[in-house]
Amino acid sequence: MPVTDAPALRDAIANASAACFFWDRAGCARFTDLNRGTSLGGRCAELAGRSVLVATASQLTTALALIELDGAARRLLILPPDAESDHLGAVVEAAGIDAVIVDSATPADRASDIPLRVNCSPPIVAATVDPLPRVKTEWILMTSGTTGVPKLVAHDLEGLTAAMRTPSPADGAEVWGTFYDIRRYGGLQIYLRAVCGGASLVLSSAGEAVGDHLARLAEHGVTHLSGTPSQWRRALMVPAIRNVAPRYVRLSGEIADQAILDSLRAAFPAAVIGHAYASTEAGVVFDVNDGLAGFPADYVGGVRDGVELKIADGSLRVRSRGAAFGYVGSGQSLADADGFVDTGDILERRGERYHFAGRTGGIINIGGLKVHPEEIEAVINRHPQVRMSLVRPKQNPVTGAVVVADVVLKSEGEGARKIELKDDILKFCRETLPRHKVPVAISFVPALRVAASGKLLRRQG
C-alpha cells in the first residue's frame, strides 16, 4: 500500500480552536480532543491499512471515527442509515471489508460476520496518539439509488474537499448545521467544511422532529445551514425556523426553484443564499449565490476552478478533480473515455441561464410528448399559497399517461376556499405551461414524503 504525505483529516484539526464541537441530540464531543485522545478505545493501530465499514448508528460517532481513520485505514465505507440490510453482504464483499466500526446503538447482528469489530464512543478518552504509516484513504460512499444493490462510489479526501477553496478562519466562531445525514455525499460535504474550516457542527439525530432539530440549531447559534430544497420547504413550515438566523443558507441535492429561493430570502433577509450543484459521482460542481434559479450559461464550455462542463444529448457532463474516481466492485465505468461524468440532469437554456429541467430517467410520456415533472412542480411552487408539490404520471387510455399533482399548501385552507385555490393554481399552470403539461387534477395533501437522502420521494406509495 502506498505510503503518502498527502494531508489527512487529522491534520485539519491539529490547529483548530478548542471551541470546536460536534453536537447531536444525545450529547457532544469536542473533536479537537482527538489531537490527544481517541474515540476508538485506542485501537486505531489495529485498523491501519484495513478496509473499514463505518456502521455506527449515530452521526456523532461517525463524525469522530472518520477523523481518526482517514490517513490510517486503506478504505472507509460509510454506511448510510437507511441502507437496506439485505444488500449489506454484497456490499461488504465487493469492498473487501475486513473491519467494522460500530457504536452502542448498532444492532448486534449488523455485519456480525466481520471479525474485527471496534466500538466508537464519545467521550473522547485522553491517549497518546502514535503516528501510523500515512496512507491515502479511499472514501467509499453509497449512492441513494432506488432499487437493487447500491453503487459504491470511490473518492479521496483531496477530491472531496476540492470545491472548498476559501478556508474560513479556524476560530470556532462558525457553526454549521445540516438537515442531511453526513453519511451521504451532501451531508459529508458539510461535515468536511466544518472540520476543515475549524467550525462546529450541529448534527441531526435519528427520528428527531424538524422542530426539535431547529431548536437545537438555534441553541447553538448556527451560522451556516444546509439542506435540500425539500428539507427547507419542510423546515419553513415549522414555527421554530424563526429562532435561527444563519448568515449562510445553502441548498443542494435537488433543483432549487425560484419559489424556494424567494421563500428563504424572505425568511432570512440578511443571509447569503446559495444553491450548490453536486452529486455523489460528479462531486461539487458549482455554487450559485445570486439568488436566482439556474446558473449562468457561460459556466458551460469553459473550465472554472478546475471544473469543466459540457452538454451532450441534453444532459450535463462534468470533468473535475472533485468527481469520484470510480465504482468499487463493478466493471461499470463512471466517466467516459475523456473523463466526463454524465450527471443524468437535463438542462434547458432560457436567455442567459441554464435551468435544470429534470432527470433523464424521470420523463413522463404524454401521447409522445415528453414532460419533466420537475418543470411543472417549479411552476406550481411559484403560486403564493403553495409550499411544495409532486407531479406524477397517471395512466390514461388515450395518451398513455397524463400528469396529476399532489400539493402541500402553506396553510390549511377552508373547504370552499380549497376549490377556489385548485382552480387558481390550474389557471396559473394554464397561463404558463403548454396544455399537455397542465395537471388534469390537483390533490391537496398534508405532507409529501422525503427520503432519508433529503430528496422528494417520487414514488409516494
Binding site: P397, R430, R435, V440
Partner: protein, 81 residues
C-alpha cells in the same frame, strides 16, 4: 347531475380551457369531429374518473373507444351499473 350532463359539462369546460370550439353535442356526433383532440380526450377521461369514480377504458380488458358521443355516454352509464 346525470352521467350524460356531466360528460357534456366536462367537454365544454375542457374545450374552453384548451381554446377549442365544440361541434353541437348531439347523440350521433362522431367524437373525432367534436373539436377535442387526443389530449382533450385524455383530460376528459381523467376528469370523468374524478367526477364519476370510473375509468371504463383502463378498467376493461378489451377496451374499445366508442365512435359517437351517444356510445361514449353509454359506456359510462353501463360502467356505473
Amino acid at each position: 347531475m346525470s352521467v350524460k350532463l356531466t360528460i357534456i359539462d366536462q367537454m365544454e369546460q375542457i374545450a374552453r380551457e384548451h381554446g377549442k370550439i365544440l361541434a353541437p353535442l348531439k347523440e350521433d356526433l362522431v367524437l373525432a369531429d367534436c373539436g377535442l383532440d387526443s389530449l382533450g380526450f385524455a383530460v376528459l377521461v381523467a376528469r370523468l374518473e374524478d367526477k364519476l369514480g370510473i375509468d371504463p377504458f383502463t378498467a376493461a380488458e378489451d377496451a374499445f373507444f366508442p365512435v359517437t358521443l351517444g356510445e361514449f355516454v353509454k359506456v359510462y352509464e353501463h360502467a356505473r351499473h
